[in-house]
């Protein structure tokens, strides 16, 4: 079916257009690039140091088996299927062989690229030992490609199985055994016998799944969505990703903070905004991460003024991040219809922001005071907390929102 192939090609193209757009935005984020450079330089220095200190008895074959094994066994298939395909493509399943073959080949090539990167990264560790040579390393890489292809083939037939877990365990064990035999230079007979076992298992176990089972579309879709989410979630650290809007976590252990204090009109929007803070869009995660980074930085800063500046910056950044709580869409038929005036609504929002910022500011002040034990510092940090919290919430946001 040519139209299925062109559908596949269009989906791959669309994905790459979207992905390159996100990578463009991430790349332009100079802070990230700078952090990456620093991490790479620091990492390589420490890597070299660690390598130099490794003892002769270090189980290098075992460690490399685990690392290479992980990347070879983890074999997600990018099928580019979508939820709606269950309706529209399901009738064509029998004609989709080429479509899925292309998906497997595409995933195989990308994962081989990842394998090359992993092999390059670990080459200093491998080549440190005199019994290893570049030639044997390259041979291992080529064998890894073959095992990857075998894994991809098996993974595809797992999609037909009722119980893929057992199959995955068998596949993983064989892969690990094979790598260990290759890396620790065991006899060629053993390696060849593993290859024969893999072939037999493939033929008599994995390929037989198709005859007895149906293709589990829901699993394919879940696998595809998971792959997609990896990129989106990463990009979401830098920009707002629309697909990730509206994510909610119930976090029942936080319900002790979320109580109906009074059963009246004034508390409706307070409850609503505070529940958004605790459960939606990961506002809580942003808040905690900023607090943690601020606490570490200001704790280890020697100078009082810098520490105060860090507290101030964290409060300000948090305040900005939490603005989304107000603008987050709420159901028109519920929140939009409540007989509650805008003033009450805006005040509720400001009070929630105020509480969040004061708690954060006081926490930072307490932590920082441990390393800056001076009464003047305590007073100043509390003063800054109060001024910034009140200023941002009832000052800036109140004026901005009430006049909107």
């Amino acid at each position: 079916m040519d139209s299925l192939i062109s559908l596949w090609q269009r989906r791959v193209r669309d994905y790459w257009t979207m992905a390159s757009r996100y990578w463009g935005i991430i790349g332009k984020n100079s802070g990230l690039m700078f952090t990456l450079y620093v991490l790479i330089i620091l990492g390589s220095v420490y890597y070299k140091k660690t390598l130099d200190q490794l003892p002769e008895t270090f189980p290098v074959s075992f460690i490399l088996t685990v690392i290479f094994g992980f990347f070879v066994i983890r074999t997600p298939i990018r099928t580019f299927v979508q939820q709606a395909d269950v309706v529209f493509l399901l009738p064509l399943e029998s004609q989709m062989g080429r479509y899925f073959y292309k998906s497997c080949r595409y995933s195989f090539m990308l994962q081989c690229a990842t394998l090359i990167v992993v092999f390059v990264l670990f080459s200093p560790l491998y080549l440190k030992y005199p019994m290893h040579s570049v030639a044997s390393y390259l041979l291992t890489l080529i064998l890894a490609f073959f095992v990857k292809a075998w894994n991809m083939d098996c993974k595809w037939y797992e999609q037909y199985s009722e119980n893929p877990l057992v199959l995955r365990v068998i596949r993983s064990c064989l892969t690990l055994l094979f790598f260990y035999a290759v890396l620790s230079k065991q006899s060629i007979v053993l390696v060849i016998s593993y290859v024969i076992v893999m072939g037999l298992v493939s033929y008599f176990l994995f390929h037989r799944q198709k005859a007895g089972g149906v293709l589990h579309w829901d699993r394919l879709i879940a696998m595809e969505n998971h792959q997609m989410m990896l990129l989106l979630r990463f990009a979401n650290l830098f920009v707002d990703v629309p697909q990730l809007k509206g994510r909610v976590k119930s976090r029942p252990w936080l319900n002790i903070f979320l109580k109906f204090r009074k059963f009246d009109k004034v508390h409706v929007f307070r409850y609503l905004y505070f529940s958004i803070f605790l459960r939606a869009e990961d506002y809580l995660g942003i808040y905690l991460r900023l607090t943690l980074v601020g606490a570490i930085l200001s704790f280890y800063t020697d100078h009082d003024v810098f520490a105060l500046f860090i507290i101030l910056s964290v409060l300000y950044l948090t305040g900005l991040q939490l603005f989304g709580i107000f603008t987050r869409p709420v159901p028109q038929a519920l929140a939009g219809m409540y007989p509650i005036t805008k003033t009450v609504k805006v005040k509720s929002y400001c009070s929630i922001i105020l509480i969040c910022l004061i708690v954060q500011g006081l926490f930072l002040s307490i932590i920082t005071t441990i390393s800056h034990l001076r009464i003047s510092f305590v007073l100043l940090s509390i003063l800054i907390t109060m001024v910034v919290s009140v200023g941002l919430s009832y000052g800036y946001y109140y004026k901005k929102l009430i006049n909107d």
Partner: protein, 250 residues
């Protein structure tokens, strides 16, 4: 008897350049269930949005118990409960929290609230799902949440837009029972629907919209008389209007 809702010569729509509704007038008296019927795009939802105060009339006015939304928004909204066509819920709140917020917003006190939640949850078979999040609900259950929120709050006017879509038979029956109870208490109800057989059975009066105009309104008997066929059903009349057979109206 004073009307609960009065719509006087309403001209409206989404933009001033393009009127969707043309000179619509009707009223709803206490204890009346009024059916708002018309084809897709006839202007039912637009009319409802104007009544809810989500759209600004281009001309004409809408009063609830004699008060317009401009005069006192809080008072106006306090008297309406709304069940939308497509259920929209807070994804991050449980069913119980939805109900609590509605009760708080409309000034229901706590003990009254607990008692009515119990009753509503049993009627809609949702008593075991009070602590569930909307992500776990089917469309029909979401619709039930909207209906429960609306029937919790003691308004004088209910505005319900296509309430039957997705509801199970028990849900439909409980909903109809509740509407009858509220009518008996003296509330007014405006219901937009395509389920004509149910509408015929339950509505006291009908407003038939076509192309943004109110082509005919009144009790079913009156409309039938005008149409000239005593045995016609609402369905026949509706189809006739939709096909352009409107000579009998004038």
């Amino acid at each position: 008897m004073n009307s609960i809702l009065e719509v006087n010569h309403l001209v409206g729509g989404y933009s001033r350049q393009n009127d969707v509704l043309h000179d619509i007038s009707f009223e709803i008296k206490p204890g009346e269930l009024v059916g708002l019927v018309g084809l897709n795009g006839a202007g039912k939802s637009t009319t409802i949005k104007h009544i809810l105060g989500l759209l600004q009339p281009h001309s004409g006015d809408i009063n609830l118990n004699g008060v317009g939304i401009k005069e006192n928004m809080e008072h106006y909204r306090r008297q309406i409960a709304y069940v939308p066509e497509t259920p929209e819920l807070y994804e991050h709140l449980t069913l119980k929290e939805h109900l609590s917020l509605s009760a708080m917003a409309y000034g229901i006190d706590k003990s009254d609230f607990e008692r009515r939640v119990e009753d509503l949850a049993v009627r809609f078979r949702m008593e075991k799902r009070l602590n569930w999040f909307p992500g776990q609900f089917s469309k029909g259950m979401k619709q039930k949440v909207m209906i429960m929120c609306a029937f919790l709050v003691n308004p004088s006017l209910y505005v319900v837009d296509e309430p039957f879509v997705g509801l199970d038979p028990i849900g439909i029956q409980s909903f109809l029972d509740l509407m009858i109870e509220m009518k008996e208490k003296g509330c007014g109800i405006l219901m937009s629907t395509h389920i004509l057989s149910t509408a015929e059975q339950y509505c006291d009066r009908f407003i038939i919209l076509h192309d943004g105009k109110c082509v005919v309104q009144g009790k079913l008997e009156e409309i039938k008389e005008k149409y000239g066929k005593r045995h016609a059903t609402l369905h026949d009349i509706y189809v006739a209007i939709a096909k352009g057979d409107t000579a009998w109206i004038h």
